[in-house]
Symmetry: C2
């Protein structure tokens, strides 16, 4: 008997449907944004960059989301307070030390670094957002900031190289800098059409299961988003992209995602009820999605990106729960590492999480090949399946036959290198 | 500054406090119980036993708990129906094939195997409980039952060897058979005191996060428990032992735990309101706890048993949630594999799961050594710590300072061998 693969819905209007296409420049693609990345001495290895700055030419609209981990880091506390105003000038990020579990002294270092940055830029202290990533529980020295902040300002550039330097300076166990940008023409509320950009970078590879935020991410745009529009677009994008990534089910203490909207592309303001808002939301969502997928694909030790689609769930929450249960299953993740279309583990992971369904209605596809229909195995051409496993991305789809809801989540396989990296590396 | 280790409460009256001590005989320690384990042909390797029988001399009280996985196996459906009567004669278990995702044909094979067993023993078909473990989604052949069931009955013995054969026949990736027994004198409702026994075996190594049941376990006693007492004692024991084990957060499709109470030790009935019930509950709990710890210690690829104690939680549910979050964290598990007292990962795992606490009240101990006090790191003697990591059992304790509730959970480290076993083995 021949079965058709499951039909996966595409949930959102794509950025392409609004005329956006990929462009160079990463976080610097947006007009009015400069960046820099240098080695300031947070790491022992002087050849590794460890301090990054993303800076608007003048104070602009900002939005931000942060980790919900109770054990949040000092910079999260400082940035959460500063971002509340809805405007910002710059984001200062260091790697090599997370400034987490460092008490009042840690908060003081984070605050002082923002103050020094503000002094160098000539803005208010609360217009500087800060973020840190690296080892937890070690006091963060202020010295590298004292030396590095003036140097960062001196090196600020609106260039693809500067964007890449900044994206490189926030890396920890990431194997490559992760950046992306889009450009497209958008019809503005004042009747004109202008070319706008959305770009950004992200860092993240382990301790990844963001909750209401991602790992460190900076997104920029030159579209004139209102403060409310910036918040709405960022929250919606984070919810369906960074919050749908899991490498190892561990949520960081430092997750932060920032959006700077310079407004340099056009006059006026894009409000949430305008057609331009839909286009900008789609573009911001796509930049976040590309970066989120890159986090999953670059998960510690991973060899493959896994995309899990859950169809036919009774509620959205149930769809999300089943998708997360499958994506976090070590047995599913090791099966993909072993190039084994092991639908039994997918079925077991779906069935364990408290969502009710009838197993005789369940269908499963591995890499577009039906492997289970109505709860019973389908004979699979093992040679064709092993060819398909050569791909970098392994889609797994399951339909519960219990409703209409869909959820997608990204993860990676679980490999020897994950164990090696985390058995040896002290976070 | 010198800190004292956290004080871990002991929650239950121990079996020792009721005079119980370990004895030989495993599942056959109880009077009136025989067992057998043979190679019947479920596995390709004829030198591996794969069919087990635990049998009471006559029909007796039984209690059972089963997986809550929606994708439950055929034998779970048959046994759930048969156990509802509260009496049983025998438990028939095979390894090598889970009889899961096998549709109506799978249920028919499970039912037929129970019927054949009943015919051989001369009891009713619904007095036979069945369980299977092994590969999912492959039709289970009836032939090995046709050949093996009469042979099992011929080999039934009340002996330590028979118990071990049965415990061996249910193994999959387990590295050793897991059995334990206790004996003690109990004051009975009729005023006499009698020596009673509680024994059992369990199998389980991967796909382990039982929910309301364990992997395959058979517990027996010769104490004259009433049906209600047997149910109460088993459910309470399972809740605080097998349900508190996690190897990889994956709940099996086949989890089943059976208790047979032959009543051979004494006349009368032990009801739930009698002093003897407390003693029997403690003994059943301890047998389950020893077997549960053995599952965690023998988790796939594991080198160490990890005991996680969460103290000072605001509710029991919160304590359980934080304990499970820590025990399922791949970062915590790889840190233990790497002999790294990485309290940062423990703190992050505690903070991520939605339980509210103030990080400045958090204390953490690794192997009895204070490593975090009031949210700040404590200087640790690294040499002493590395000596302590040589132990087979690694206790991790965290106090949230947010209430009075305590939870304990068992897990194991995450190693290269877990990835090797599950990247290569098709479940």
């Amino acid at each position: 008997m021949k079965y058709n693969p499951l039909a996966i819905p595409t949930e959102n209007s794509s950025a392409a449907s609004f005329g956006f296409k990929a462009c160079d420049g990463g976080v610097c693609a947006a007009d009015g944004i400069c960046a820099a990345g240098i080695s300031a001495g947070f790491r022992r290895n002087p050849s590794r960059k460890d301090l990054a700055l993303v800076c608007a030419d003048k104070t602009c609209v900002c939005a931000a989301t942060f980790t919900k981990n109770c054990f949040c880091a000092a910079p999260v506390r400082v940035s959460r307070a500063n971002a509340a105003s809805g405007v910002a000038r710059a984001v200062l990020l260091n790697s090599g030390n997370a400034n987490a579990a460092t008490g009042d002294e840690g908060v003081e270092v984070a605050r002082k670094s923002a103050a020094l940055m503000a002094q160098e830029l000539g803005c208010n202290e609360n217009e500087v957002l800060v973020a840190s990533t690296g080892v937890i529980g070690v006091p963060l020295s202020f010295d590298p900031f004292a030396k590095g902040v003036p140097q960062l300002v001196a090196e600020l550039e609106h260039s693809a190289k500067a964007s890449r330097d900044a994206a490189t300076a926030v890396m920890t166990t990431d194997t490559h800098p992760k950046e992306f940008a889009l450009e497209g023409e958008v019809a503005l509320p004042d009747g004109t059409s202008r070319v706008v950009h959305v770009g950004g970078f992200v860092k993240g590879s382990g301790m990844i299961q963001p909750n209401m935020a991602t790992m460190l991410a900076v997104i920029t745009t030159d579209a004139p988003l209102s403060s409310k529009a910036a918040h709405s677009a960022l929250l919606a994008a984070v919810q369906s992209t960074f919050n749908k990534v899991t490498v190892d089910s561990d949520t960081s203490t430092n997750d932060s995602c920032f959006l700077l909207a310079t407004g340099c592309a056009a006059a006026g303001e894009i409000e949430v009820d305008s057609p331009a808002f839909l286009a900008m939301s789609a573009a911001i969502q796509e930049v976040c999605e590309v970066l989120a997928r890159d986090i999953a694909a670059d998960g510690e030790g991973s060899t493959k990106l896994i995309t899990v689609d859950v169809l036919g769930a009774p509620t959205q929450k149930a769809a999300d729960k089943v998708a997360r249960s499958i994506a976090n299953s070590p047995l599913v993740k090791t099966a993909v590492f072993g190039c084994d279309a092991n639908w039994g583990r997918v079925a077991a992971a779906a069935g364990k999480c408290g969502v009710a369904f009838d197993q005789t209605n369940v269908d499963i596809d591995f890499i577009g090949v039906p492997v289970l229909r109505a709860g019973l195995p389908v004979l699979v051409d093992e040679t064709e399946m092993s060819h398909r496993f050569a791909a970098d991305e392994i889609p797994i789809a399951i339909s519960l036959g219990a409703g209409i809801y869909h959820s997608r989540i990204w993860t990676c396989d679980l490999t020897h290198d994950y164990v090696r990296i985390n058995g040896e590396y002290r976070t």
